[in-house]
C-alpha cells in the first residue's frame, strides 16, 4: 500500500514539475505577491505637493510653511494669492492639499486667541486625502507644541501616540500574514481541486476508479505533494518578509508552523470538496476563485477590518478560514503570543477541518455519477 502511495506521489510530482503554469503559480506567485504588496501598496508617501494660501504673511506663518516641508513628506508647490486659485491646483492635478493660514496668524497664536487653520484636500481620492490630512494635522500639532513651549502656555493637553507591535505602521506587517493565508489557500485548495478535476476531465479518473485503489488513497496521493509545497511556500513568504521587509516572528516558530499545517489541511479538504462537486477544471477554477479567493481577500480582515462591515458580510467573514488564520499569524508573528491566546482560533479551524472532511466523505463518489 505504501508503495502505491509513493507511486502516486511520484506521478503527481512529474505532473507538477512538467507543467510550467503550475510551477509559476507555486513559486512565482508568492514571490511576486509579497514584493508587489511590499513595494507597491504602501500608505507612506514622500514629497506630496501642497499649495499654501498664506493670508497672514508674518514670521510665524513662514515658520509653519517651513515646518511642514521639514519632514520631507510635503513639498511646496505654489503660494496662492487668493481663494479663487485654490481649486485650480486640484483640477490640474498639480497639488494634493491646500493649507489656508488665516490673517493675524502669529499674533492670535501668541495671544491665545482661537486660530483656524484650514486643510483642503482632494476628496475624489479619499484614502489619500485622509492620510495627507492626518500627516498635516500631526505636523501642525508639533508646530504648536514647539511654539507654545517658547511662550510657556500651561493649558495644554499633550497626546502621545505609540503604535505597539508595529511602531512604524509598516504595511508589511499586515500583508505578510495576509499573503501567507492567500497563497496557502491557492496552492492547497485551488491547485488540488484543479488536479483532481483534471483527472476527471482527461478520463484518467475512470481508470483509477476501475482499479483496486481505495478512494482515500487516490485523494491522499494527489494532495500530499501539494501539502508539502504549500508548506514550503509558507516558509518562503516568512523568509522573504523577514529579510526584505523586516517582518519579525516574535512568537514560537513551532506553533506558527503547526498552525500553518492546520491551515494547509483546511485548504486541502476545501480543495477536495470542490473537486467532488466539479467535473471540469474550469468549474473547479471558478469555484475556487469565486468561492474562496475573493471572500478570503476581501472578507477575511486582510484588507478591510471585519468589524466595520455590514452584518451579513461580517457573518460571512466569520466562516472564512483565512479570517482565523490571519488572526493567529498576527498574534504569533507580531505580538509574540503563545498557544493560550490563539487556542480559540485553532479550535475553530479544527472544527472546520472536521466538517469539511465529513462533507468530502459524503460527496466522494466511487462511481462516475
Amino acid at each position: 500500500m505504501l508503495k502505491v502511495f509513493w507511486a502516486f506521489v511520484k506521478k503527481e510530482w512529474y505532473h507538477i514539475i512538467r507543467d510550467k503554469r503550475t510551477l509559476l503559480i507555486l513559486f512565482g506567485m508568492p514571490i511576486a505577491q509579497v514584493l508587489l504588496f511590499g513595494f507597491a501598496i504602501s500608505t507612506e508617501f514622500k514629497g506630496a505637493r501642497i499649495d499654501v494660501l498664506d493670508q497672514a504673511r508674518d514670521d510665524t506663518s513662514q515658520q509653519l510653511i517651513a515646518h511642514l516641508q521639514s519632514s520631507g513628506h510635503f513639498e511646496l508647490n505654489r503660494l496662492l494669492t487668493s481663494e479663487d486659485e485654490m481649486e485650480s491646483g486640484f483640477k490640474e492635478g498639480s497639488t494634493k492639499l491646500v493649507v489656508v493660514i488665516p490673517e493675524n496668524f502669529g499674533a492670535n497664536l501668541y495671544s491665545g486667541q482661537p486660530v483656524d487653520i484650514q486643510f483642503v484636500a482632494d476628496g475624489s481620492d479619499p484614502n489619500n486625502a485622509n492620510t495627507l490630512v492626518q500627516y498635516a494635522t500631526t505636523m501642525l500639532n508639533e508646530f504648536q507644541k514647539d511654539q507654545s513651549a517658547s511662550t510657556e502656555n500651561p493649558f495644554q493637553i499633550q497626546v502621545e501616540n505609540r503604535m505597539l507591535y508595529n511602531p512604524q505602521l509598516d504595511s508589511a506587517y499586515t500583508f505578510v500574514p495576509g499573503t501567507i493565508a492567500l497563497i496557502l489557500l491557492i496552492v492547497c485548495a485551488m491547485l488540488t481541486s484543479l488536479t483532481i478535476a483534471r483527472e476527471k476531465e482527461l478520463g484518467t479518473m475512470e481508470i483509477l476508479l476501475v482499479s483496486p485503489l481505495p478512494p482515500l488513497l487516490i485523494i491522499l496521493g494527489k494532495v500530499a505533494p501539494y501539502a508539502l509545497l504549500a508548506f514550503l511556500d509558507a516558509i518562503l513568504i516568512l523568509v522573504l518578509g523577514n529579510f526584505v521587509f523586516k517582518v519579525p516572528v516574535l512568537g514560537s516558530v513551532t506553533l506558527l508552523l503547526f498552525c500553518c499545517l492546520l491551515y494547509v489541511v483546511v485548504g486541502l479538504s476545501l480543495g477536495t470538496l470542490i473537486s467532488t462537486r466539479s467535473s471540469s477544471q474550469q468549474q473547479a477554477m471558478m469555484a475556487s476563485l469565486m468561492g474562496l479567493m475573493m471572500p478570503s481577500l476581501i472578507l477575511s480582515g486582510f484588507i478591510f477590518p471585519l468589524s466595520s462591515m455590514p452584518g451579513v458580510l461580517e457573518l460571512i467573514g466569520q466562516i472564512i478560514p483565512a479570517t482565523y488564520f490571519i488572526e493567529i499569524l498576527k498574534g504569533v508573528m507580531l505580538r509574540g503570543v503563545g498557544l493560550r491566546f490563539v487556542y480559540h482560533e485553532i479550535l475553530i479551524l479544527l472544527i472546520m477541518v472536521l466538517v469539511l472532511l465529513l462533507l468530502t466523505w459524503k460527496n466522494f463518489k466511487v462511481r462516475l455519477q
Binding site: 478520463g203 481508470i207 476501475v210
Partner: protein
C-alpha cells in the same frame, strides 16, 4: 463460469433510453464484439460492467461477481480501456506503464510476457510523453496499461476509433493472441468490417440488441437475395428503387447501392427491371452479405427507413 453475464440491463439518462433490456453472455477466453453506431449505448454498457455506472434495471456479473454489490472484487480483476485516450499525456510511455503496474500491485517485469509483443513496438519511444505518440501507438500503450495486471476480463471501448487502417489490423491480431491466453475480451467498435474478427458479436442499435451470434452464422442466416448495383446516378436510382414493387430495401453502400429484393431473382432479371426505369446502370451482381448488410437489414426491420 462465464466471464460476463448480463440480464435485462436498462439504463436511461433523463428521458433518453440508453440501454433497453440488454442481455448476453461472454465465455472465458471469448472475443465478444459489441457492434453498433455512435450513440447506440456501447459506452454506457461498458461503464455499467466496469462498475462505474449503476444500471436502472437488470443484473450483471463479471467473473462471477455482482456489478453493484461486489464492485471492489471486479475492480481487481478487470482491465478497462475507455473510449477516449485516458493515460497521462505528460508522463512517458515507461512512466505510464510502471504507474499502472504499481497501482494494481504488480510490476512490469512480473507480467512482461503478457505485454511483450505489444511493448516491443513501444520500446523505441520509451521516454516519449504519451501525449506525443501517434494514434495507433497511444492505443497500444493503453492496451498495455490495461493488461499489465493480467486481468481476467478485458473491456475495450472502441479501441480502434481514430486509428489508421494498418494499426487497426495489428490491434486485432493482438487481441487474437490475448484471447488464446484465456482472457475474455469485450470489445466495441463502430466499424462493421472488424466484426468478423470476433468469436461472437452483438449488434446494438439505439440501446437495444438486434441480434447475437457468431459473425459467420449471422451472414449465413441472411437468406434474402442481395445485389450490388453500380450506377452513376445513385440518388435517382435509390428513389426509383424504393418505389419499385420488387424492392424490399435499397441502401447506399460505398459507391454502390445494395438492393434486397422481395423474391428470388437473377442479376440479369434485376438489370432488365432497372433498364425499364430508364436510369443508367453499369453493373448488377449478386453478392453475399457482409455484417453491415445484416446490421442494416435488422435495423430497418425494427425501424422502417423513411424517405
Amino acid at each position: 463460469m462465464s466471464a460476463i453475464t448480463i440480464n435485462n440491463i436498462s439504463k436511461s439518462y433523463g428521458d433518453v433510453l440508453a440501454l433497453n433490456r440488454v442481455s448476453f453472455n461472454v465465455a472465458k477466453g471469448e472475443l465478444f464484439g459489441l457492434i453498433g453506431p455512435d450513440g447506440a449505448g456501447k459506452s454506457t454498457l461498458f461503464r455499467i460492467l466496469t462498475t462505474l455506472l449503476l444500471a436502472d434495471e437488470g443484473e450483471g456479473y463479471v467473473v462471477g461477481h455482482h456489478v453493484v454489490n461486489e464492485y471492489k472484487e471486479i475492480r481487481k480483476k478487470v482491465g478497462y480501456m475507455p473510449g477516449r485516450f485516458s493515460l497521462y499525456q505528460d508522463l512517458s510511455v515507461e512512466e505510464n506503464l510502471s504507474f499502472f503496474a504499481t497501482i494494481f500491485g504488480t510490476t512490469i517485469q512480473e507480467n512482461y510476457d503478457l505485454v511483450k509483443d505489444i511493448y516491443v513496438q513501444l520500446e523505441p519511444f520509451r521516454t516519449r510523453p504519451a501525449g506525443k505518440l501517434s494514434g495507433g501507438m497511444k492505443q497500444k500503450l493503453a492496451l498495455c496499461c490495461a493488461l499489465i495486471h493480467r486481468p481476467e476480463v478485458l473491456f475495450l471501448d472502441e479501441p480502434t476509433t481514430g486509428v489508421d487502417a494498418v494499426s487497426r489490423v495489428e490491434f486485432w491480431d493482438m487481441l487474437q493472441k490475448l484471447k488464446q491466453k484465456g482472457i475474455a475480451i469485450l470489445v466495441s467498435t463502430p466499424y462493421m468490417d472488424e466484426a468478423t474478427r470476433c468469436d461472437c458479436i452483438a449488434l446494438i442499435q439505439k440501446g437495444g440488441i438486434l441480434s447475437i451470434n457468431s459473425p459467420q452464422q449471422l451472414i449465413d442466416d441472411f437468406r434474402r437475395p442481395l445485389f450490388a448495383i453500380k450506377t452513376s446516378a445513385t440518388y435517382r436510382m435509390l428513389k426509383a428503387l424504393r418505389n419499385a414493387n420488387f424492392t424490399a430495401s435499397a441502401l447506399p453502400f460505398g459507391e454502390n447501392i445494395h438492393l434486397i429484393t422481395t423474391s428470388k431473382m437473377t442479376p440479369k432479371e434485376v438489370k432488365e427491371h432497372l433498364d425499364e426505369l430508364n436510369i443508367p446502370v453499369e453493373e448488377v451482381t449478386a453478392i453475399t452479405a457482409t455484417i453491415e448488410d445484416v446490421f442494416l437489414e435488422l435495423s430497418t426491420l425494427k425501424e422502417p427507413i423513411k424517405e
